[in-house]
Symmetry: none
Subunit: 204 residues, 4 copies
Amino acid sequence: MAIGRTREKILDISLELFAQRGYSAVSIRDICGRVPIKESTLYYYFQNKREIFLVLQQRFEEKAAALMRRMEEEIAAPLQGGAGFGGGVTQAFFEEYLMDPFCNAFLRLLRMEQGGDETLRETYDQWMFERPLTFQKKVFWALMEQGILQQADGDVLAVQYYAPIFMGFERYLSSGELTEEKKERFRREAGRQITWFFQERGLI
Amino acid sequence: MAIGRTREKILDISLELFAQRGYSAVSIRDICGRVPIKESTLYYYFQNKREIFLVLQQRFEEKAAALMRRMEEEIAAPLQGGAGFGGGVTQAFFEEYLMDPFCNAFLRLLRMEQGGDETLRETYDQWMFERPLTFQKKVFWALMEQGILQQADGDVLAVQYYAPIFMGFERYLSSGELTEEKKERFRREAGRQITWFFQERGLI
Amino acid sequence: MAIGRTREKILDISLELFAQRGYSAVSIRDICGRVPIKESTLYYYFQNKREIFLVLQQRFEEKAAALMRRMEEEIAAPLQGGAGFGGGVTQAFFEEYLMDPFCNAFLRLLRMEQGGDETLRETYDQWMFERPLTFQKKVFWALMEQGILQQADGDVLAVQYYAPIFMGFERYLSSGELTEEKKERFRREAGRQITWFFQERGLI
Amino acid sequence: MAIGRTREKILDISLELFAQRGYSAVSIRDICGRVPIKESTLYYYFQNKREIFLVLQQRFEEKAAALMRRMEEEIAAPLQGGAGFGGGVTQAFFEEYLMDPFCNAFLRLLRMEQGGDETLRETYDQWMFERPLTFQKKVFWALMEQGILQQADGDVLAVQYYAPIFMGFERYLSSGELTEEKKERFRREAGRQITWFFQERGLI
DNA sequence: GATGAATGAGTGTTCATTCAT
DNA sequence: TATGAATGAACACTCATTCAT
């Protein structure tokens, strides 16, 4: 097997299983049975079960941070009308984050593991609430400054905008198989709320 | 020990631990250590671990169904202005459901267990999305019929109204200890969104 | 419940279950579930599980001893020709011992429990081999003395006569349900061997 | 430890204990205490307790089937006088089956487990009654065809021949320790019956 | 007579992990 | 790189039995 291949396979399978059943409900046996390798072999690649999780977490945080950075850059450029009211970045947020196979799987995992671990709770809060909301606030304050959006409380507006998206994620993307059908349903329902949000404010 | 006391204690402690760490991460030993009884004693009261969960689920569903019924009745009476735009029932929904110690704990548990079990996923969807949203839609359609609320899409409106509440629940009430501080924060943030929601529509 | 009734019920059910599954595979729970009484109640009637067995054993030994005594008496009277060549006693041995519900059940139990317990092994040997064979030897030596049976080795003859009966018991009466069909099959096959035994020796 | 050794040791010890006390009366702890290994190690070699039994059963059936095949072949060759009246095969049946340490132990086990399990009942019937009797019938019908044995009912004759052997097995070889003394006693008593059987029919 | 409540010892089994090869 | 062999600790659960009422 090509070098690094086995390690990647372990990570892939682990994330898949973790996201399905939760970290502690997945055994080393389960993972190795699917790779497939012997259980002792796994310890050649990882110190222990926890390390698998940590590597996944690190990759997730890198990927998520990169996306957020890109989104920030995108809106730093003077906002153009039309789809520009956050439309482009929202789509990236949908497709490359909430519905991206890797990010979606890790977010599900994070969501399930919040219960036991305080630091994971904070991580989840960061990537599911803090960062997206902060980003959205920036967008709305900018739109208001530019007079595109009526003066209002940007923070409340950000929640009003993001909460339906988050609820859609929770309802359609956070458990069960991630089918095209579910993704489509999420896109439709979240899109409907967003459209309404802008229409009501006379922006579309 | 007073009659029936031990059984209730087992249920209490079990729910507490389940809600903290998730069903499968809690061992019979953990429960018995806290009651406190010997492990074999637990099996005098329950056939197995699952039965503890099922009894809790049944009680939750009864309690939740009773609340929903009460809420429906309340809005069946002609809606009066002011706090009447769903304000009374929303408060009941907050205090006696989302923040009620028993219901809150079971909702957390349900939220964590969605991963593994299809039927629990449906149960969670019922009590966290389907029923509250259906209720809210009824409220808004009624308000529109009465001309109190401007004609609009009641379904979208229900999501606009409920999503921030749900997000508040997820963020402040669904993991970690359920402190007064967190409850207050939830009340404040959700209240802020609700107030805005009605203000924007000229109802407050 | 009439006095002594519960105790008898416990003994009945216990023997039934013991004979089906073996002593140690039957739990106090199993027995009490069928009586039906609470488990603690059983200890009002018996000191422990073993005592149930011992009472059954005692009753069995009394009943078996009484039958053997009766059989001995029957052949002490001058043997008459025809069915008299042990025919009458053999039938009693079949119907009131090997196929009698109580004796059959206890013999099955004894048979299963031989493995672990030396004294039970002796008991089984007594009632399944030693006594029946000793009895049969007496019958044959008497028949030979009277010139009814040709001079021969009575001990060998006893085995020739009894072994097919024993094998029939083992094959048809020692496990599974004791149906009329099985009893009939046993009677037929054992009878065939007995008939042949006497025919070959010119006695029928 | 040499390769494959531990697994074999587990099988050996298990069979020994099973044959002594019965399957369910032997605990994993008992087996591991004697091998000796830790309990978790046993599960490296076998999926569960039942699998140990099944492997033993498979080996027994293979061995028994091989012996039966060999016996059939032996009598297919034209029967020669003297020891040939089944003498050779009967000895093989004694030494390599009824008294062979492995087969004897498994037959004891099978005998004890008849109570609970219908399929084991059938297995026992096969190997203790059906096959040996069928074989013996063939022998006698052949001997009669060749005029060596007087015309008679071969089926009855087979029982007459086999029943004392079976009874000897039950009495001397099916419980307690399998000592040389007991084996000798079995050989003597079964031999006596066989000798008589042929003498009475003028064949020895 | 009968039971509710409790228990210590034991059941088969799974787990993440180690280590020599 | 990979594995065969092993393990200690934990798991959910069952058992016969006790004892106050």
